[in-house]
Assembly symmetry: C2
Homo-oligomer: 653 residues x 2
Amino acid sequence: MADYEQPQVDVPAMTALLDGSYVEVRDLTRKRLVEYASILTDQRDLDRGKFRERVKDVVVELAGTGQTGLGFPTEYGGGGDIGASVAAFETMAFGDLSVLVKVGVQFGLFGGAILQLGTKKHHDAYLKDLVSGQLLGCFAMTETGHGSNVQALGTVATYDVETHEFVITTPDDHSRKDYIGNAAAHARLAVVFAQLEIGGQSEGVHAFVVPIRDAKGKVLKDVRIEDDGRKIGLNGVDNGRIWFDGVRIPRENLLNRYADVTETGVYRSEIDNPDRRFFTMLGTLVQGRVCVGGASINASKVALSIATKYALGRRQFGNPGGPEELLLDYGLHQRRLLPLIARTYALHFAQEVLAGQLHAVFSATAEVDERTRRALESRAAGTKALGTWHGSRTIQECREACGGAGYLSANRFDALRADTDVFTTFEGDNHILLQLVAKGLLTDYSSEFSDLDQLGMVRFVAGMAVDTVVEKTSVHKLLERVKDILPGGDDWAQEAEIVDSEYQLAMFRWREEHMLAGVAKRLKAGMDAGMDPKEVFSRCQDHVIGSARAHVERLVLEAFVDKVRATPDGPNKSALYLLCDLYALSAIEADRGWWMEHGRLTSSRSKAISKEISELCRKLRPIAEDLVDAFGVPAEMQAAEMLAPGTVEGQRM
Amino acid sequence: MADYEQPQVDVPAMTALLDGSYVEVRDLTRKRLVEYASILTDQRDLDRGKFRERVKDVVVELAGTGQTGLGFPTEYGGGGDIGASVAAFETMAFGDLSVLVKVGVQFGLFGGAILQLGTKKHHDAYLKDLVSGQLLGCFAMTETGHGSNVQALGTVATYDVETHEFVITTPDDHSRKDYIGNAAAHARLAVVFAQLEIGGQSEGVHAFVVPIRDAKGKVLKDVRIEDDGRKIGLNGVDNGRIWFDGVRIPRENLLNRYADVTETGVYRSEIDNPDRRFFTMLGTLVQGRVCVGGASINASKVALSIATKYALGRRQFGNPGGPEELLLDYGLHQRRLLPLIARTYALHFAQEVLAGQLHAVFSATAEVDERTRRALESRAAGTKALGTWHGSRTIQECREACGGAGYLSANRFDALRADTDVFTTFEGDNHILLQLVAKGLLTDYSSEFSDLDQLGMVRFVAGMAVDTVVEKTSVHKLLERVKDILPGGDDWAQEAEIVDSEYQLAMFRWREEHMLAGVAKRLKAGMDAGMDPKEVFSRCQDHVIGSARAHVERLVLEAFVDKVRATPDGPNKSALYLLCDLYALSAIEADRGWWMEHGRLTSSRSKAISKEISELCRKLRPIAEDLVDAFGVPAEMQAAEMLAPGTVEGQRM
């Protein structure tokens, strides 16, 4: 329960709390960001070609310091610490995001594929040079006609038993590789995902190492590369299209951790089910999604730091004769910024839990069971979706809250919003990711069919009793806890205090359970009525996605509540309680129609929640600046012209 | 009531319906857009300096054709038709938006100020050359420290009775003119808004014609200009900052339609109240807001045309073995795009009503009463707010609905979203504009105090009986109509058909009346409790803005319903009914929490509305392409690479 004295913040202690287990890595990253801070102006001033080169140079330089290789084994020059590599990556999102994404492409996607899908021979051949930034590569999965449904890729790798080579071919323009980072200018190697064919038999999608440029940067024979051209943002990353016209690579270039082809053309894999095999391969690349979500949350911190300071310097209207009112003294402005600050804290702590689970799974010495891996993938997908939507929304709101000044590139929002905009649709489109989350919940992370096959899910769920579906989800157990903790049996929804975390958790858990059960019922009813599964799915799709969102929101709130409870008593704990209440109640307010529809929120209680939110905003107003300072965004990364000391907007009157 | 057969669209007839009274002007504008269509690629390919020059050249060329001068008197080379000039401007929003905004700056703001605030001597001196594009100017109102509160501008114009000159001075950096379009490179004249001082006495803000560059483009003595630098978008417009260091201009350069200074320094105005005088001056510039709202609505049409066609060409998942499903066959995708199409139609018709009222008021031969002018300004403010928010939201949703392809600049969304982004905060920040709307409603368009003085409004409302406030609003009368038309007395909210326009109108009207009355009560209660008016306003601010939004939404729905009812029976009328239902029900769904809180929506009815929305989306799905084609966006303006014939994404399989 929140302690409602006038809150205060111990800023350094709050920053330490946010930095968590990786204070040193985050601090070192902050220092490095400051060292290449001039890239923020280069981003505005250099033309696309020059900026790309500048970004590449920074990335290679960073690689030299060890900053970008923390997740690789120490024997190849890496840091051997997955959690540290996520922390470093997230923190880099305070700075230029082309640098961040190029790092993600080179070390996360390209390097990650070699590490996770390759075996020792590939590690020995490539890892040292790619970790040091001497060997640049790209991750050639997405095709123009296949973004989300990667199992249906068109590129073909045919095994030639005579020469012991694979022949890589792009059969049509639909199947050209597209939006591939590092492809248009810098990559020498590509990890290419293609349909493996042996003697006319298709074995599904596998990954191959394919050279695309020589050491001098010349594109190799039978490879065609085209620049994707200017993009909304991230113009320091060279995205491109690749066509392969019968490119021959040695048999050894198949990344063969999960499947191999013998010299004589016999296909071998320890995983029999081709769907399971493919999604096991993909699952090893989950770190990318974890990183993108974390980056979005941190980009939000930059925007909120700037917009909050602007709102504490800028005056408007009021006080006839005297100075005008500070923007942040307006109720509306408080309502615009403070719930976003609260949600940023919430997502930060949810991301911390996720990154911890990632570290545990990928650092485990014993084999990790498949269900745990699937649950991790699901949580990564859901956190990525919520984190990236939050990033887009927050940065946009911050830009608008700074009016005309927010529109000038010198005030940072331009690059922030343009660069992060793609995060909601890359590394998995957010809607598709939430479908994956829902499917995990509805099938209890069964791996009997492809992760992305919604029709399979429809049939699976339709074949079960609804009770079984709900029983299998962990929500059900959580609901029982609700009843144990909150008094009044089923009356908790009316009788608990609204600023009681248990009440808020109960609301979130109840919604999740009810939505999931509702989806299961609708899927069954549709199938029972003899409807086409496609139609059944299409009609329930927003409900499916809504239930996944409800699930992830619950995880976020739990992470926040757990963190607050674990914080030692003191001003920061009190401030965090206010933030946690504000996050939870804002989320309830945003979806209050749903709870009212389902009899879990009376109209008077709903109004009381809205009133409480405004009250919480007023209480947090005096510590708004401390709350954003605690994010620990270096001043150089908040280099908005309108905040510079001595300029008019930066004057604190 | 909607006719629910499978709908069809007569596309040319629907376009004609949308084009309304200005078919010819809109057609001619479309042709001109196509003539300079290459600017869409120039926007991506040219550097900022060159693109600015290109944009300027296009603007001057358009001026030569008469395209941009339709609103000016014929004796100065104009077209003498305000309505036509709005139609032409709106239609230009299909094309490059830097061109549009530069046209707005030159002919709407600069030219509009000379025309509306000046007298014959100014018209004779400047209009002919500015209409022909030979004399470029800027509108120097906004200052770095004063965006929304323009009455508090810092620039001073002191009358020197010795030399019969005004001396224009920028007292501090807060008061530098900022974000001024045309200032950084092209303007020779500036209309400068400054505090008029005569003999130590301040007479409030007035507008003055101030030369800032010579004929060769050299900045004049005592004028300092700085480039605002790169912006999120609109980089073809040269925004800048201006400082004046005692710049002397002849007495005649005061734009003296509403106030004048005699040679001997006597101030004269027919409007005694200085607030009223200032807002009368500002009110003459209302056309700018009308134009920006219309432009946003039309920019949405471009985005929706592209995203809808993409969703009808792009396939994803489903159909094992066969072709994948079209994006638009997914329920979620329908839910993402179709309500936005419906709302675009709704806003289009609301904008048509507004433009018609603008034309009537500004073309009237007799004096128009002040209340009518105020109501027009309020409607312009509200429509601008809703139209520009809709534009930002729609374009963003369309970009995300096209995934990675949407992120490439060649697919149009980049420029569309970046260029329109500032529309929500320029020509009046949307929140400030909605406050103005609420104030008009709460004070029955009283002009006793400044339009933007919220504290004055608080005191005014607190001094009235709540019943009086509500009585004075036109909503009250509308509510009585509800009771006449819908059966069941107060049970209409439960008993009417949800697809009955009367039900939907009743819901919108009831919300507006209830919110306004609620705001009035809260303002009174706060003042009665002895609270500081600033605090009273701050606490009610979101409620104030919410009530204004409810008011404008009601106007939009009324405009749409009126239009549908006036449409001759036939397929288009049926299609419009479906769209109108979809718009109204989507708006109710979005705010369903509010209606449930206030006892006007049961939970079962709320669920029925959500179900009906999905049903309407499915019904509209087969005519989605016709509905966007009817917008009449020239193919060249939908020049998204991903839709080009022959490219993979454009193939209709």
